[in-house]
Amino acid sequence: MGIEFRNVGKTYRDGTVAVADFSHVVASHRIAALVGSSGSGKTTLLRMVNRMIDPSNGTVLIDDEDIQGLDKVRLRRRIGYVPQAGGLLPHRTVVDNVATVPVLNGTSRATARGNALDLLTLVGLDASLASRYPAQLSGGQQQRVAVARALAADPNILLMDEPFGAVDPIVRRELQDQLLRVQAELGKTIVIVTHDVDEAFRLADDVVVLRTGGVVAQSGTPQSILASPADAFVRDFVGADRPERTLTTTEVDGQRLVVDADGRPVGILR
């Protein structure tokens, strides 16, 4: 069950190999992160799930069904998609952006708008923003709208392509927390693509570290990857040797203080 990549590859006509041979299973109701630098094929893999890209070889299965045989448009309408930045329809209000897919599916505009307002609340936006246009919102607000829009047709699967990459670190943190709250409530199967290991570790139950060309360097829980990186590449990529990941304790005023390798305090050990 869930999403299965079975020996998928993507070679473009000019001979560029985006993904060589990738196999992985994303379990239902969990968050999986595909993490890698640019050229790792992570976005290509993500876009194979809603057939924005068709693999040159191999198959992608959703709940054991080969999606190659499915109608693209219908497949995409049952999969939520959150692009990196922008992607909202600039000529439509926030509420109409969120209502897009339900309206395409034949839900009446009034009903779809009503549901859209609930979704805005779910992603932490004030209903008063509903009648604004995307350009009148901050980057963080726009990404919240994008998440609400992706959830509007109540899909089982949510695909997120560097969803919080274009906002500043503080807003990114808020958006990540919001996503975790939403996930605790809805339990979707989420695939998130990011180049930010910290984001992957914060959000995902299951992390896949990719090398160039979609080669799996290591996959597993954030804990297992950090505890035992498979090789020097993973070790370096997840920053296992970075000062902020190498913590020690020291005693100050009777408290056991956790400090990083530079001696900066991180927290208190209980």
Binding site: P83, G87, L89, Y133, L159
Partner: protein, 224 residues
């Protein structure tokens, strides 16, 4: 200067306005020829432009062809068509359609292409069909540019529609041809002034339309 005043006097003379040869009738004919030519060109060029803009294919070929059509002198084309089709309004109409097509086409594909790629990609990923992408995203976002193409085409056609009088008794161009033949320069100038005023009025009208259409894409101003 006296010719100019004479021309204005000629236009102001109520006797020149009535009847089948009058200014009112010729204005309407001129407008009708312009409208038919632009509509016919649109029926041809807008779907083609949308296709090119949406698929990003065939642009090179079509742009080269449109450029070639643009290079054809309208008067030459008109003469050729008149020799083939005989006297009447058909030949000038065809020549005017050929004149209008490149501008309308350019406006259509440039408009469609101007739609924000991220929005188009997201629309596709959400499950809009290609037709729905055109209708719900690319057309509203490109409407301003598209209407701009129509505006340019209309301006060219309304000015060149004087040539309709070359092979038929149609439009304001008649005053120019009659005036030239009879060396009645005030009448000639009057015809030219009427065409210019008509062109300016149409342009204002289409500028307003273009403005409205552009606002479809940039719904950012105004109270939220």
């Amino acid at each position: 200067m006296t010719t100019f005043l004479d021309a204005l006097t000629w236009i102001a003379d109520p006797a020149n306005w009535g009847g089948a040869q009058g200014i009112s009738a010729r204005l309407l004919q001129h407008l009708a020829v312009t409208l038919v030519a632009v509509l016919a060109a649109s029926a041809l060029a807008i779907p083609l432009g949308i296709l090119i803009g949406h698929t990003r294919r065939g642009r090179g070929v079509v742009v080269a062809l449109a450029g070639a059509v643009r290079a054809i002198p309208t008067l030459g084309l008109l003469t050729l068509l008149a020799l083939l089709l005989g006297v009447g309004v058909e030949a000038p109409l065809l020549a005017l359609v050929a004149l209008a097509v490149p501008s309308v086409l350019a406006g259509a594909y440039a408009g469609i292409e101007s739609a924000e790629p991220a929005a188009v990609d997201a629309a596709r990923a959400m499950g809009m069909s290609e037709l729905q992408i055109v209708r719900n995203v690319e057309l509203p976002l490109g409407a301003g540019v598209l209407v701009g193409g129509l505006r340019a085409a209309t301006l060219q056609v309304v000015a060149t529609a004087t040539l309709a009088a070359y092979t038929s008794d149609t439009g304001l161009g008649r005053y120019l041809f009659i005036g030239l033949k009879a060396r009645d320069y005030p009448q000639m100038l009057a015809g030219a002034i009427l065409v210019a005023v008509l062109a300016l009025l149409l342009d204002r009208l289409l500028a307003t339309a273009q403005d409205r259409a552009s606002r479809l894409a940039h719904s950012t101003e105004g109270t939220p």
